[in-house]
């Protein structure tokens, strides 16, 4: 494929507002959207703000919306667009813009800090941990998460509803709760808190999070639905309910 000039439309602005601006940028064989953004930066707009690190799909920094779809810019090849198509790059919509393509993702770090951490049995010594591969695999799938926050960005519970942010941790952190709940050696009971404190009930399993996950983690099927089932078993199982009433401590 020969080099060609692409029509690129990039959102420029800050928290006071901004606009889409048009640019023409050269594209070479095999390049990804992030390459084109970098070329734009090096040749036309040296102060264009973009967050990126590894450019290999491993760190989850360069999240943005490309033609309206949440994507990692480093893993979106230009060859997936027609040469005469205008490629539009905008910042993640769910989080406040800092400048250009960079958003303030601190919401996610705040949610992460609210989830009780891994808690092993008290008397278990380092080096004595024994777990079977098949028992760790479920949590391992969720630990593939690179925290690009595309799932958080796409989730309609918060994407269009700022008011839900306080009571809803979002798919990434519901998955974190599921990961810990499925950890063979974690001793914390996480099922009630998933529902009551982190808003799992607001999720109505539209699978948007799974669709945008660049790691192809089956967030909905393997984390959110099983976690919802665990919660439902607990909350709505009459035997469990009776047991709780009869044997409740204190």
């Amino acid at each position: 494929m020969a080099a060609y000039n692409a029509n690129l439309r990039v959102w420029r602005g800050d928290d006071d507002g901004g606009e889409l601006k048009d640019y023409t940028v050269e594209v070479n064989d095999g390049e990804v959207v992030l390459d084109i953004i970098h070329r734009l930066q090096a040749t036309q707009t040296p102060d264009l703000a973009v967050r990126w690190n590894c450019k290999a799909g491993k760190c989850g920094s360069c999240s943005a919306e490309v033609n309206g779809r949440p994507r990692l810019m480093c893993m979106t090849r230009m060859s997936t667009f027609d040469e005469n198509e205008t490629v539009t790059v905008t910042p993640l919509r769910t989080f406040p813009v800092m400048r250009d393509l960079v958003t303030d993702v601190s919401f996610n770090y705040e949610k992460a800090r609210q989830i009780p951490s891994f808690t092993p049995p008290k008397d278990l010594q380092p080096g004595d941990y024994r777990m079977q591969q098949e028992d760790v695999e479920r949590s391992q799938e969720f630990r593939k998460c690179i925290e690009c926050f595309l799932c958080q960005n796409v989730c309609h519970v918060v994407r269009d509803h700022e008011e839900n942010k306080e009571n809803f941790a979002g798919p990434r952190f519901h998955m974190r709760i599921a990961e810990l709940d499925m950890h063979p050696l974690d001793v914390v009971d996480r099922q009630d808190m998933a529902q009551d404190e982190f808003g799992l009930g607001l999720c109505n399993i539209t699978k948007c999070c799974t669709e945008v996950c660049p790691e192809h983690i089956k967030i909905t099927d393997n984390a959110l639905i099983p976690m919802k089932e665990r919660v439902a078993d607990r909350k709505y199982d009459p035997v469990v309910w009776l047991g709780k009433v009869l044997f409740k401590k204190k």
Binding site: D14, N28, D29, G30, E31, V32, D35, Q41, A42, T43, P46, D47, L48, A49, V50, R51, W52, N53, C54, K55, A56, G57, K58, C59, G60, S61, M75, R77, M98, R99, D100, V102, V105, Y109, A112, R113, P116, S117, F118, P120, L124, P126, G127, Y129, R130, M131, Q132, Q133, V136, S139, Q140, R143, K144, I146, E147, L180, H183, D186, E215, H216
Partner: protein, 638 residues
């Protein structure tokens, strides 16, 4: 003068990769208040890119392993130039550091009896690498990140403030260390987000800033790897050692051009993948160097037998240390047996079933499908060397991580000595855990023993501010930082790359001098809010200073060893083995000059302790040591 935000801490850790975070944990566990400063978001550090595993002689897969064997492999891998005390501590403490991660919540792949599984890797005698598929670095960074969150939760319970003892300053860059007399008194930098300045008033600083790979064009490193810690330490009066030794990882992607350099894990070969040339030949059998003769399989049958059972055959030469494999690939391509895009083939497709490849190497599968449209379960990968790691770094005390400047500590890739002239795969993740902890401990002890806190002098803060703002001054001949960076990368790549020659290194030094002059005219557009052009202009100071160290040391070392290959001095020379090339600054960096001068002086290493020397056969030591050095060896005397 510009506005300035001030914070007081006991310890400031610069860098939030594995080494930095482990240092934070240690200093916090010892009761100190710690700031973590990172150029990126929390959890995005370069450690996420480590793939293959974390080396530790836990003996889960082969009980013949021991810290002594690991120590021996590390010294061999580094061609006996390593700081032996660091290699000793590393081999002894790595298992505890890995087991500790499980208590933080890490989930490594398991053996059948439920222990941490360990895989084969280049230069390691036994299966030794704890791993999680091919995303071990991600597991380690996330685990440490989550441990820090858990410590913050403990602090919240106790004080009502998550940030009572640990605060993360992310997307914040440190541009200068501030000294009070000889001692560290703090660190100065800017918020990337706003461009406003920040001063940390702290008696101890731990540098954990990683490497320097962004000075090279073809690199597996992210933009953050601009040698910040190296440069900060130099400017603060500490020394760098071993800067001529750069690891070119043998297997980076070579095509498409835009992804050239992205890493292909050594785990591919550890799990059975083999290197082939364009004639389909497994060429590594032709490249076993004299020092490793007898330790590696000499036929394909033997190599494949070893893969099935480590104890019944010698290991495959596909898993020679990285420097050897990288040189072999360059030689094959030079001889006309390369692939269409100038690499060699790496074949896993014919070696194991599709599902097994996807299970063991999921990121590699994903990376090649998405970026190169190559299905590695069906086709061979095209690979070639990529700048990956700098063995050189800040000269530190092995036990405490202390640099020459009082109050300054360093750990991980930005420190030097541990890996000698070449690092073994898997020894980086273990290095950062072992020495991250030790640097955190060293800093804590230092602070506890201080009679009075040093104070950051105002004139130093003023000078640092002036230097950071210099790109905004009016310039008669403005230079674009991106252009300067591209020219630096091209020169280092072409002239001080994997194979070096005297006249080419000299040419590089002329170019570096030119860039140094042009950097004084570097100019940026736009404001200070999240302005990457400005950030790069500042980072260029560090890249130029560190590149000069690499080039000057490479010129002086007239031999080939590990990550330093001289075309004009192709042999390893035992007379050089014990010599460290030490880089020091010759003057002070000012806002006008931007980059201080550098000189490189040879210094001898401390000889290895006799009990450690006995780990090796005399016949092996004879390949590396001079006769005079071995005169006192018990076997010689007896």
């Amino acid at each position: 003068m510009a506005e300035l935000e001030r914070h007081e801490y006991d310890v400031v850790v610069i860098g939030a990769g594995g080494a930095g975070l482990r240092a934070v944990i240690e200093a916090r566990e010892r009761g100190l208040r710690v700031a973590v400063v990172t150029k990126s978001l929390f959890g995005k550090a370069h450690t996420v890119m480590a793939e293959g595993g974390c080396a530790a002689a836990m003996r889960n897969v082969n009980t013949k392993d021991s810290w002594q064997v690991h120590f021996g492999d590390t010294m061999r891998g580094g061609k006996f130039l390593n700081n032996w005390r660091m290699a000793e501590l590393h081999a002894q403490e790595a298992p505890d550091r890995v087991w500790e991660l499980e208590t933080y919540g890490a989930l490594f792949d398991r053996t059948k009896d439920g222990k941490i599984s360990q895989r084969n890797f280049g230069g390691h005698t036994y299966p030794r690498l704890a791993h999680v598929g091919d995303r071990t670095g991600l597991e380690i960074i996330r685990t440490l990140q989550q441990k820090i969150v858990s410590l913050q939760q403990d602090d919240f319970k106790e004080t009502g403030d998550y940030e009572h003892r640990i605060k993360i300053f992310h997307e914040c860059s440190i541009t200068d260390l501030i000294k009070d007399g000889d001692r560290i008194a703090g660190a100065f930098g800017y918020w990337r987000e706003t461009g406003s300045f920040i001063l940390f008033d702290a008696p101890a600083v731990v540098l954990a800033t990683g490497g320097i790979g962004k000075s090279f064009k073809v690199s597996s490193n992210s933009w953050e790897y601009t040698g910040d810690g190296h440069a900060l330490a130099l400017r603060a009066g500490s020394n760098l050692i071993n800067m001529e030794f750069i690891q070119f990882h043998p297997t980076g992607m070579v095509w498409p051009l835009s992804v050239k350099g992205i890493l292909v894990t050594e785990g591919v070969r550890g799990d059975g993948g083999v290197l082939k040339n364009s004639e389909g030949k497994r060429f590594m059998f032709d490249y076993i160097p004299p020092v490793f003769k007898g330790q590696y399989a000499e036929t394909e049958e033997e190599a494949d037998q070893w893969l099935k059972d480590n104890d019944s055959a010698r290991r495959t030469p596909d898993l020679l240390p990285r420097d050897e494999v990288a040189r072999a690939i360059v030689a094959e391509v030079k001889a006309g047996r390369g692939t269409p895009h100038g690499g060699v083939y790496l074949d896993i497709a014919s070696r194991m079933p599709t599902e097994e490849i996807k299970r063991r190497l999921p990121s590699m599968y994903h990376q090649f499908i998405e970026l190169a449209e190559v299905d590695i379960t069906k086709d061979e990968m095209e690979v070639g060397p990529t700048c990956h790691y700098v063995m050189g770094g800040i000269e530190v005390d092995p036990d405490t991580g202390g640099a020459a400047t009082p109050g300054l500590f360093a750990a991980g890739e930005c420190s030097g000595g541990m890996h000698g002239s070449n690092r073994l795969g898997g020894n980086s993740l273990s290095d950062l855990l072992v020495f991250g902890r030790r640097a955190g401990m060293g800093a804590a002890d230092y602070v506890a023993a201080l009679a009075e806190r040093p104070k950051p002098p105002q004139d130093a803060v003023d000078e640092a501010t002036k230097m950071a703002l210099a790109p905004y001054d009016a310039h008669e001949h403005p230079e674009n930082p991106y252009t300067l960076h591209a020219e630096l990368q091209q020169s280092m790549n072409d002239l001080v790359g994997i194979i070096r020659k005297k006249d080419e290194i000299e040419e590089a030094l002329v170019k570096l001098d030119e860039l140094r002059g042009r950097l004084q005219n570097v100019a940026v557009e736009g404001g200070r809010v999240y302005n990457p052009g400005w950030h790069l202009a500042i980072d260029m100071r560090n890249m130029l200073l560190v590149s000069e160290c690499v080039a000057k040391a490479a010129l002086q070392r007239t031999e080939s060893r590990g990550g330093h290959t001289r075309d004009d001095y192709p042999a390893m020379d035992a007379n050089w083995r014990n010599t460290l090339l030490v880089c020091k600054t010759t003057d002070v960096a000012t806002a006008e000059a931007m980059v201080p001068g550098v000189t490189v002086v040879p210094e001898p290493q401390v000889p290895m302790r006799p009990d450690l020397l006995e780990v090796f056969e005399l016949s092996e030591l004879e390949k590396y040591y001079t006769d005079a050095e071995l005169a006192e060896h018990p076997e010689r005397k007896g």
